[in-house]
């Protein structure tokens, strides 16, 4: 048995990171964040109309443990774009305010739009459950 095969949780997390262009590991869900830092990060992504996958790390302590091993980052939330850790709440906040987050996400400079927010949220992928991948 190879080492990776003996760690299905780590494999599931790595697959989720590589398969989702924008993925947020958070406490709680985007609809019901369980921590202020996670809530603020979700709010910034939603303010940009950015679709993202979300993983709630709370159901199983092993999710957070393996995630931090992979990312070498101790805190939650963690935002990954194109497989790379962009940051936690502090970094995302600074990047949101400076416009760097929009650049990383490939969002054009804000053109005020009357677009229906409902249409955007309908396109969002369903929240991801790591447990279901095992």
């Amino acid at each position: 048995m190879s080492e990776s095969a003996s760690n299905p949780m780590r494999e599931a997390i790595q697959s989720a990171i590589s398969e989702n262009p924008v993925i947020l590991f958070m406490k709680g869900t985007p609809e019901a964040p369980a921590c202020g830092f996670s809530a603020r990060t979700v709010a910034m992504l939603e303010a940009l109309d950015q679709p993202f996958a979300a993983v709630n790390i709370l159901p199983d302590p092993a999710i957070r443990q393996e995630l931090s091993e992979i990312s070498n980052w101790p805190t939650i939330p963690q935002l990954f774009v194109d497989g790379e850790l962009v940051g936690g709440c502090d970094i995302i906040t600074e990047m949101y305010q400076s416009g760097e987050l929009q650049e990383v996400l490939g969002i054009e400079a804000a053109a005020p739009t009357a677009e229906e927010p409902v249409a955007v949220s309908a396109a969002e992928p369903a929240p991801l459950q790591i447990d279901n991948l095992l």
């Binding site: 830092f37 101790p74 962009v86 940051g87 502090d90 970094i91």
Partner: protein, 76 residues
């Protein structure tokens, strides 16, 4: 032993030479304003990791939450 802002300030300043830190907090949630030349030229991720590395596994455990704002100073 409870965590004090003063302890975090002293450990950041001792752990990253040339750095000055202002830390406020309530014993669980802390906010650190940190400035120094050690952060110059590093990515945001690498800058934050310098500070996380001072505390290791205490982050998220004994130190429940630490919000960080970093200013990179010119090296002298």
């Amino acid at each position: 032993m409870p965590v004090s802002p003063e302890e975090l300030k002293q450990r950041i300043e001792a752990g990253i030479p040339g750095t000055s830190a202002e830390v406020s907090g309530d014993g669980a949630h802390f906010e650190a304003l940190v400035a120094g030349p050690a952060f110059n030229g590093l990515s945001r991720i690498a800058q934050h990791k310098l500070i996380y590395d001072v505390f290791g596994a205490e982050i998220g455990d004994r130190i429940h939450a630490l919000s960080i704002k970093i200013t990179a100073l010119e090296a002298r």
